[in-house]
C-alpha cells in the first residue's frame, strides 16, 4: 500500500433532515441555514422549516394521535424505555453533538447526555402510574360510581428550550408523549443538530411515526402558524422569549389552546410531574350504581 493511499480518510458528512410522520424529509421550502458550534465554526446546514412544514407536521401528529393515545400505558412505557436503550447505544455521537452545540467539554456533555437518557427512563416509568396519581373514584353523595381519569390533551406544539438543546428538549418532549399526546417540536434555533439526530433514535425505537415531529429553523416563523393552528390543542412556550411568548399566547387563545408559559428551569433538577400534568384533561364518568337510570339521585 502506497503512502498516498494511506492519506487521511475524508469523513462522510451527515445531511441533517427534519423528522415528520416517521420520515426524514427536507424542508418543503428547500431552505437550509448554517449551524455553527459555540465558536462559530460550521457544523452543518439544517433545514429551515416553513409554515407548510409546520402544517404537515400537525397533520402527521393528528393522524398519529388515535393510535398513540389508544395504546396501552404499558406499551408506551416500553417504547419510551426503548428510546433510552437506543440513546445509550449512540451515546458517543450525542456527547460529540451536544458538546459542539453547547460548547461543553466532553465530560460535561457526557453528563448532559446521561441525564437525558435517564429522563427517558423516568418518564417511561410514569406512563402507567400517572392515572393512579391524578385520577380516581370520587365519593359522590348519591347512588353513582364516579370516576375521574386523565386523558391526553391531543396535539401539543412544543418550542424546545433554546439553550439546553438536548437535555432541555428531551425534558419537554418525553412528558408530553408519555401520557399519549403527540407532538410537533420546534428545535433550538441555534443548536438544532442534537434534536434532529434524536429523530433517528426515535425512528428506531418502535415509536409510531407522527408521535414526535421535529422541525428546525427560525422559532418565530414556525411557532406562529402552530400557535394559530386550529387543530393544535396545546402549546409549550419553553423556547420562546418574552415578546414572542406573549404574541403566541394571544394567538393560542383563538381555539383556547392550553398554554404553558416559559419559565426559568434547571433542566438537571428532578423534573417532578408538572410537565406530565400540564397536557392532560380530566374526564369524569358517572355510572348509576343501584337504583336505576335517571331516577334515584339523592342529595
Amino acid at each position: 500500500m502506497s503512502e498516498s493511499e494511506k492519506a487521511a480518510r475524508l469523513s462522510v458528512f451527515k445531511t441533517y433532515k427534519l423528522f415528520v410522520g416517521g420520515k426524514f424529509p427536507r424542508s418543503e421550502s428547500g431552505r437550509v441555514y448554517e449551524v455553527t458550534d459555540s465558536k462559530g465554526r460550521w457544523l452543518a446546514n439544517a433545514p429551515q422549516s416553513s409554515r407548510k412544514d409546520a402544517r404537515d407536521a400537525v397533520v402527521a401528529a393528528r393522524k398519529a394521535f388515535a393510535g398513540w393515545s389508544g395504546a396501552t400505558a404499558y406499551n408506551r412505557g416500553q417504547i419510551l424505555y426503548r428510546v433510552a436503550e437506543m440513546l445509550e447505544g449512540r451515546r458517543d455521537q450525542f456527547v460529540r453533538e451536544v458538546g459542539d452545540a453547547e460548547g461543553l467539554s466532553k465530560s460535561k456533555a457526557g453528563a448532559v447526555v446521561d441525564a437525558a437518557i435517564d429522563r427517558w427512563v423516568w418518564y417511561a416509568g410514569w406512563t402507567d402510574k400517572i392515572a393512579q396519581i391524578v385520577g380516581g373514584a370520587n365519593p359522590v353523595a348519591g347512588p353513582y360510581f364516579n370516576l375521574s381519569s386523565p386523558e391526553p390533551t391531543g396535539v401539543v406544539a412544543i418550542l424546545a428550550p433554546q439553550e439546553s438543546s438536548f437535555l432541555g428538549l428531551v425534558s419537554v418532549v418525553a412528558p408530553v408523549i408519555a401520557t399519549g399526546n403527540t407532538a410537533v417540536v420546534v428545535t433550538s434555533e441555534a443548536s438544532p443538530l442534537p434534536a434532529l439526530s434524536l429523530g433517528e433514535v426515535l425512528a428506531t425505537s418502535d415509536l409510531p411515526g407522527g408521535v414526535v415531529n421535529l422541525l428546525s429553523g427560525r422559532t418565530a416563523e414556525i411557532a406562529t402558524p402552530l400557535a394559530a393552528h386550529q387543530d393544535v390543542n396545546a402549546i409549550d412556550l419553553a423556547g420562546a422569549e418574552e415578546v414572542l411568548a406573549k404574541e403566541l399566547e394571544i394567538a393560542a387563545a383563538d381555539n383556547l389552546k392550553r398554554v404553558r408559559r416559559p419559565q426559568p428551569v434547571d433542566w438537571a433538577a428532578d423534573p417532578g410531574t408538572e410537565r406530565l400534568t400540564s397536557f392532560l384533561e380530566t374526564k369524569t364518568v358517572w355510572h348509576p350504581a343501584g337504583g336505576s337510570g335517571s331516577s334515584g339521585a339523592a342529595y
Binding site: 359522590v140 364516579n146 393560542a252 387563545a253 383563538d254 381555539n255 383556547l256 408538572e274 336505576s292
Partner: protein, 477 residues
C-alpha cells in the same frame, strides 16, 4: 286522554325580605359605587323590579382588589383548621337559610323553585362543606408539601346558577387561602349580595370576600387588574377567549368554564323510558340554560321513532309557568336578551330546514318565556347543531353505528359533557373512552357533586372545578 289539573301550589315569598336597594360589598361593608351608578334587577317571570343595585365600575374594582390584597396577608396566614371552620360555618348558615335563598334565587333567576330547592341550594351548601374540609389537609392533596395560595382571585360568574357558581368559585379559593373579588351577573346579583350577609353572620374577616355587582366592563376591569393573581370565569366561549387573550404574557393563572353542545346518545338497547327522562332533564333542566346541557340528541336509527314518540308524549306533560309554583317543571328564560338569542337561533333552525315541534302550552303573558322545543331532521351543518343555544331547544340527529355516534358527538368545537344510554356495560365504557368531553353521564344526566371534577375539553375551557382537582386552580403549583 283525561288529565287532572294541578291546583296552584306557590311557595311563599314571605320567607325572603328583599331590600329596595343594595350596595357593593367591599372590605366588609356595603357601599355605593364610586360614580353612584345603579341598575335594576327584575324577576324574569313577571318583569317586576325586585331591587336596585349599585353598579361597580373600574374605581370600585380597584378598591375591592386593594381590600382583598390587604386581607390576603392575614387570611393566608391563619391555620388551615381555622379557615376550615369559617367555611363550615358558611355551609351551615346556607343550610339554615336555604329556603330563603331558594325563593330569592327563583325570583331573581326565573328557574323553578323545585330546582333551586332540590338542586341549587343543597349543592351550594355541600360545596362549602366539602372544601371546608380541605383547608387543613392541603399537604395531602397531591401538590407537594405546604402548597401556597395564589393571592387575590378575580372571579366572574354567570346568571344560570348564580349561587352555585359563586360556591364553585369562592369555596375552593378560600379553602386554599386566597381572597376573592367576585362579580355576579348583571341579571342575577341578589343571591351573591345575600351571601355577603352570610359572610357577615359567619364572622368572616373583612376583605376576604368582596362582591361587585356590575356589567361586563366591571368584569373586564377585574380580570385586567394588575394586582389580581388568579382569574376564574364561567360564561360564554367568546368572552373566555377574550380573557385568555387579555391575560397573555402575565403571570395570572386562569380557569375557564365555557360553553358546550353536549351530545346525549341513545343506543337501541337503552331503557327507553329512563332515557326519555334523562333527555328531558338534559335539555329542559333550568330551561336549558346550562353549559353542560344535552342539547344534541343522537338517536340510533332503529329506535329513533319510538324515542321521539315517547319524548313528545313526555314533553306534553311538562308544566310551564310560575317558577315559584312547586309543580312547575319549566320556568322563565333569564332575560329579554337571552330570550332574543334563543328565538333567533331557533328561527335559524327552521330557516335551515329542520322540523320544529313544541307541545301545546300556554305561556304567561308577562315575563320572558320560551316553550320547550325540539328539532328533527337536523344535520351536523345546521347552526342549531353547532352553536350553543343556551335555552330549551333540543336538536335531534340520528346515527347507525356506535362509531358514527362517537364521530358525530365529537364533531364540535366544544367538549364539556355527553350522555350515553345503553344497557350494555362494555358499550358504555368504550364509548365513554372515545368521547372528548370532560363529563360523561352514563344512563343519567346533569348530575353534580362537590367531589366530582367538572370542566371541559377543547373550547369548553380548561381547568377543573370540584373535587381534589379543583384545588389546583387556586394553588401556586
Amino acid at each position: 286522554m283525561t288529565t287532572f289539573d294541578y291546583a296552584p301550589a306557590p311557595e311563599s315569598r314571605a320567607v325572603v325580605d328583599i331590600a329596595p336597594s343594595y350596595g357593593l360589598f367591599i372590605d366588609g361593608e356595603f357601599t355605593e359605587a364610586a360614580d353612584g351608578k345603579v341598575f335594576k334587577t327584575v324577576s324574569p317571570s313577571s318583569e317586576e323590579v325586585l331591587s336596585e343595585v349599585a353598579q361597580a365600575g373600574e374605581a370600585d374594582v380597584d378598591r375591592a382588589v386593594k381590600a382583598a390584597r390587604k386581607a390576603f396577608t392575614t387570611w393566608s396566614a391563619i391555620p388551615g383548621a381555622e379557615r376550615a371552620k369559617y367555611l363550615f360555618r358558611i355551609a351551615r348558615i346556607i343550610q339554615e337559610r336555604s329556603r330563603e335563598l331558594a325563593v330569592l334565587e327563583t325570583l331573581d333567576n326565573g328557574k323553578p323553585i323545585r330546582e333551586t330547592r332540590d338542586a341549587d341550594l343543597p349543592l351550594v351548601a355541600a360545596h362549602f362543606f366539602y372544601y371546608a374540609g380541605w383547608a387543613d389537609k392541603l399537604d395531602h392533596a397531591g401538590y407537594g408539601a405546604n402548597p401556597k395560595p395564589l393571592g387575590v382571585a378575580g372571579q366572574v360568574i354567570p346568571w344560570n346558577f348564580p349561587l352555585l357558581m359563586l360556591a364553585w368559585k369562592i369555596a375552593p379559593a378560600l379553602a386554599t387561602g386566597n381572597t376573592v373579588v367576585l362579580k355576579p351577573a348583571e341579571t342575577t346579583p341578589l343571591s351573591a349580595l345575600f351571601f355577603a350577609d352570610i359572610c357577615r353572620q359567619a364572622g368572616l374577616p373583612k376583605g376576604v370576600v368582596n362582591i361587585l355587582p356590575g356589567y361586563g366592563d366591571a368584569g373586564a376591569a377585574l380580570v385586567g387588574h394588575p394586582d389580581v393573581n388568579k382569574v376564574a370565569f364561567t360564561g360564554s366561549t367568546a368572552v373566555g377567549k377574550a380573557i385568555a387573550r387579555s391575560i397573555a404574557g402575565t403571570h395570572k393563572k386562569v380557569t375557564l368554564e365555557l360553553g358546550g353542545k353536549g351530545a346525549n346518545i341513545v343506543f337501541d338497547d337503552a331503557p327507553i323510558d329512563q332515557a326519555v327522562e334523562g333527555i328531558v332533564n338534559g335539555i329542559f333542566f333550568n330551561q336549558g340554560q346550562v353549559c353542560c346541557a344535552g342539547s344534541r340528541l343522537l338517536l340510533q336509527e332503529s329506535v329513533a321513532d319510538e324515542v321521539l314518540d315517547a319524548l313528545k308524549r313526555r314533553l306534553s306533560t311538562l308544566r310551564i309557568g310560575d317558577p315559584l309554583d312547586k309543580n312547575t317543571d319549566v320556568g322563565a328564560i333569564n332575560s329579554a336578551e337571552q330570550l332574543a338569542r334563543i328565538t333567533a337561533l331557533a328561527d335559524s333552525g327552521e330557516a335551515e330546514g329542520a322540523e320544529r315541534w313544541s307541545p301545546a302550552c300556554e305561556l304567561p303573558s308577562s315575563g320572558y318565556w320560551f316553550a320547550p322545543t325540539l328539532f328533527t331532521g337536523v344535520t351536523q351543518a345546521h347552526r342549531i347543531a353547532r352553536e350553543e343555544i343556551f335555552g330549551p331547544v333540543l336538536s335531534v340527529l340520528t346515527f347507525r353505528t356506535p362509531a358514527e355516534a362517537v364521530e358525530k358527538a365529537n364533531n364540535s368545537q366544544y367538549g364539556l359533557s355527553a350522555g350515553i344510554w345503553t344497557e350494555k356495560g362494555s358499550r358504555i365504557l368504550s364509548v365513554a373512552n372515545q368521547l372528548r368531553a370532560g363529563v360523561v353521564w352514563a344512563n343519567t344526566f346533569n348530575k353534580f357533586d362537590p367531589t366530582s371534577p367538572f370542566g371541559g375539553y377543547k373550547e369548553s375551557g380548561f381547568g377543573r372545578e370540584g373535587g381534589r382537582h379543583g384545588l389546583e386552580a387556586y394553588l401556586d403549583v
